[in-house]
Symmetry: none
């Protein structure tokens, strides 16, 4: 196996990650070797990026370190979390001029989280529709009705949701919201975007 132009990058990524994980757990090479059934010497070589571990060794390391195998290729985490709390008074709200619905972003805006939580107040009779578009990420949503009744149409599937009901979906088709009643409704949308 001749050295490849990218060899140093994947082995170096693994090296940095294993060092990081071992340090976090306060383990010596010996202790980790016992925990995962890979020799001290091999772990040392891996941590210095001087070898390219096989899949079996990777899996053993992951198991011994208590992480998913895929995460051994992850870059180190960034620092300095932002404010984890968003106060209602500071939450950004936006009213759609066409339908009159009010959309409030509930989640703290600067905090690194895969979760986006949105509260929507939806007038009687209101209707709004979105094309989904092609995405590089998988967008998962759950729509939870807090008050009133709405209809959600995903592609050709229509769901009528009463207070407390919840619809889970992956956003891969056009989606439309409708309040078919004479009273306003309120609902929460939980949005999580994941790489495919």
């Amino acid at each position: 196996m001749p050295p490849a132009p990218d060899a140093s990058s994947v082995n170096d990524r693994i090296a940095a990650r294993v060092r990081e994980l071992r340090a976090e757990r306060g383990l010596s090479l010996e202790a980790l070797a016992e925990a995962c059934g890979v020799s001290r010497s091999m772990i040392s070589l891996i941590e210095r990026g001087e070898t390219s571990p096989t899949a079996v060794v990777l899996e053993r390391l992951a198991t011994g370190l208590g992480v998913m195998l895929a995460s051994l290729f992850d870059a180190p985490a960034a620092a300095a979390p932002a404010d984890p709390v968003s106060r209602r008074a500071a939450q950004q709200a936006w009213r759609d001029p066409a339908s009159g619905y009010l959309r409030r972003n509930v989640s703290p805006p600067g905090f690194p989280s895969p979760i986006q939580l949105v509260e929507v107040s939806f007038p009687a009779g209101a209707r709004v529709a979105y094309e989904s578009g092609a995405r590089q990420t998988a967008t998962h949503q759950q729509i939870w009705v807090l008050q009133g009744t709405i209809e959600v149409t995903l592609g050709k599937e229509r769901h009528r949701l009463a207070t407390g009901d919840c619809l889970a979906l992956e956003l891969d088709r056009p989606i439309a919201y409708h309040n078919p009643t004479a009273k306003p409704a309120r609902y929460a949308v939980v949005i999580v975007s994941l790489p495919r």
Copy 2:
């Protein structure tokens, strides 16, 4: 490297995945070998699960197949989506005998979604605490107060949340909930677990 009890599983997972990906792209071993700079023979061995490829080989395969390295370990996709809607009446609720709080699982139970949505009704003065424990996944949460006031203590950080406020966190420390008021509170917990 003696054969490990789990050796066949990771190598077999990779084998199935590479075969699947190559077939989808209609490539011969020769064509794939040229695309990714790994020998035909080696790809054949990998696809039959007869070897454990190193990280450098894995990365080359991923690049040549146009997928993320981590996805080479993926199991084949499951089928048959479940009911995407959960009705309030069918949602499982559970009352904690010690503190009296009521916990309702809002999310549709069988639908494959990374999101878990839970509604909690929390009596006046109630207090509940959890140790976080070591985890193989990163658990992200957002706690949104729907009614009343609660205090959430994450490790040594205490947050007082009023109606409409939202706290985002990663669950990596002990966490405690407290209702310091004379009125009941209600809050939603959005939980997303991601592989590390």
